[in-house]
């Protein structure tokens, strides 16, 4: 079974802090994704990566950056956290080209005070 893990289940940070969310997958998938999920807005794609050191903006990249130095790890960075970034963050990975068969991590519920 594909396993996607995220570094924290719950995280509380203060406004202005730099925040790192880590995601690791163990199935050698090429593609990795970061989403945020908010009530009434569904899942929105922040960034994705289709190869090491490659990244593409999703629908809502503002205020975020990402890093993919190794194939199995995809990091989401909030350079200066703000209260409107309080959300559930979900990481996913998939094999090959296209959006086929995305597998998700358990999510990180981030609260910015």
């Amino acid at each position: 079974d594909v396993k996607v893990t995220q570094s924290s289940r719950y995280l509380v940070k203060r406004t202005g802090e730099k925040v790192f969310l880590e995601c690791v997958q163990d199935m050698d998938h090429e593609n990795m994704f970061w989403y945020r999920q908010d009530p009434g807005l569904g899942l929105r794609l922040i960034y994705f990566s289709y190869d090491v050191k490659m990244k593409e903006k999703g629908d809502i990249p503002e205020g975020y950056s990402v890093s993919r130095e190794k194939k199995e790890r995809f990091s989401l960075i909030l350079e200066s956290a703000s209260t409107n970034q309080t959300s559930m963050y979900l990481c996913a990975s998939s094999l090959g080209t296209g959006a086929r068969g995305q597998f998700f991590g358990p999510g990180t519920r981030l609260t910015v005070l």
Partner: protein, 109 residues
């Protein structure tokens, strides 16, 4: 871009009942996925079903691509089936998914 609509938005059933969830999409697609998000937030990939019918235990899914809809059937519902069910189709970029708003299912004991 493509639009994805799910119905009903909410569904409350007694344990043991059967249910049908629907996903309509506005343009032709080459794949469609169904996901279940449990009450703790974990999203599980249920089916990858571009066309035809697939079954996995009490769950089955049918996609009629020519008519632009997919159905998810849950038979003999259990309380563990509660959560939100999403369908998703590829967007303009081959790597992106367009998500429906979900159907929130509550199974009462």
């Amino acid at each position: 871009g493509i639009q994805v609509e799910q119905s009903p938005p909410d569904l409350i059933l007694q344990e043991g009942a059967n249910s049908t969830l629907r996903c309509n999409f506005s343009d032709s697609v080459n794949n469609l996925q169904w996901f279940h998000q449990n009450p703790w937030g974990q999203l599980i990939n249920l089916f990858y079903i571009p066309s035809g019918t697939k079954q996995n235990g009490r769950l089955s899914a049918t996609t009629v691509a020519t008519e632009r809809y997919s159905l998810l059937y849950i038979s003999s519902s259990q309380t563990t089936d509660s959560g939100v069910y999403f369908c998703a189709v590829p967007g303009d970029s081959n790597y992106q998914l367009i998500w429906g708003a979900g159907t929130k299912l509550i199974i009462k004991p």
